[in-house]
Symmetry: C2
DNA sequence: GTGGTTCAATGGTCCAACCAATTTCTGCAC
DNA sequence: GTGCAGAAATTGGTTGGACCATTGAACCAC
């Protein structure tokens, strides 16, 4: 029935280039930040035109695997291995309050699951890293008397990384990006995110205590506070000028 | 403190090309399957080299937005609008089993949430549509004596659409795609997904009864059966030949 | 040391040509 | 007119070579 016949590949120069390059990276054990060979050298070694090399590198650049700096060189931005699977995720959403709430609904689902998984899987080093980020965030909260989105985000990222599933971090990063794209104006809410502060510590406590259900519950509470803030902001907007 | 100085953008030809092209697509109201202008024409109109046009199109091709067919032309593969967010997902290394489990963990979180939201928000027409898909799936199950992934997927999609949040469908579609790309071999499990069958009906019943918690619970059960199938398959693999 | 200057290396862009796959047109046989 | 094989035009893929813009290191004057 499912006689799936993949179309034969008659030409795939740039794919071949990428395969060769991935093999090279592994053989040389290159890590993030390290420099790749010059485009001209690659072209010469692989016996292809420099244009073809460039198209291949453009692909990798689009995937965020590589960064090109004019006048300097091409540098690895992430770990790269020959057996990687890429899946482009394109998100389209309304640029309005509904769009913000949509990203939060995704976050609610994923943050809860990630926190629970983290409570199960996090090792000692991951746990220490999460606590470090938590301390940094709480310190920033004290000194600046308010939530700091950078430190806050890094705390959550540490949890996603410790969940043992890289997709959590990547997908929620997309949500975060969308959220901040819509987030042009503070919606008139002062101390946005203030209410979420205590739950960071409670989430961590549950994770450290290996309590998945507790971690999930506290993560849900945290997102709930953000949703409340957002609704307050939307109410404010309806009362004042509407663009 | 936060003296953030973003690096100034000195050149961005291909980005400019893509912006112009996105505008063109919107103006002409081009949809998936329709043909874009020739590379040569684009180069001439935009006053850039064909090389630059090609690099830009290579980007879009990498994002799955466009398909290039030699001798024929370049065709839109997905809806494209100027304000879309692209985030390539990368699943590195790991064997097939780990990748499959990663996508299932995301599905577990999102399907449960989507089912719950659906139970709250679905209108009459959405409910009828879900039930129609459910009937189709059950019919296919009877006639073919086994799960049919197409009808199964359409049922789930109907739920996501009725959740009122377009992100659910977009993200889980990516997970689904990834899952099937890992799915090279049936892992030696006969009647894969068979155990998940009854839960489709129970999920629908909970949604129709406006029972969010029940819908979430049944959705979790469904994913659990798939995870079990997968683990059985992985155990089989370990016993037999390992490539 | 500090601050310019020079210069080679490197990615970014351009051009013109040709290759390979596809589509369209043409003309012949029927 | 119809059908079909072959020619011709179209279109993406590749090549080679050239030049521009940026970077970074070496060098120099102060």
């Amino acid at each position: 029935m499912t006689d799936f016949l993949p179309p034969i590949q008659t030409t795939a120069r740039d794919d071949a280039v990428l395969k060769a390059l991935a093999g090279f990276v592994r053989q040389e054990a290159l890590g993030p930040g390290e420099k790749l060979p010059t485009e001209r050298i690659l072209a010469e070694r692989l016996k292809v035109s420099r244009n073809t090399v460039r198209e291949a590198l453009t692909r990798w650049e689009g995937l965020g695997l590589v960064e090109r700096r004019q006048g300097s060189g091409t540098y690895l931005k992430a770990a790269v291995s020959p057996d990687m699977l890429h899946m482009p995720l394109t998100l389209a959403g309304g640029n309005d309050f509904a769009g913000l709430m949509s990203t939060l609904e995704i976050r609610r689902a994923l943050e809860a699951e990630a926190a629970a998984l983290c409570a199960i899987r996090a090792g000692k080093v991951e746990l220490a890293e999460i606590e470090r980020k938590l301390d940094l965030m709480e310190e920033a909260f004290q000194t600046r008397a308010g939530m700091s989105s950078d430190e806050d985000w890094e705390f959550h990222q540490a949890i996603f990384r410790a969940s043992g599933n890289p997709l959590f971090e990547q997908i929620i990063a997309a949500m975060y990006e969308m959220f901040h794209r819509f987030w042009e104006h503070p919606l008139g809410v002062r101390d946005f995110g203030h209410a979420s502060f205590p739950y960071h510590r409670t989430i961590f406590n549950c994770i450290a205590a290996r309590d998945p259900d507790g971690a999930r519950r506290e993560a849900l509470k945290l997102i709930a506070t953000v949703e409340d803030d957002l609704k307050r902001g939307a109410a404010n907007l309806k009362l004042s000028d509407r663009r």
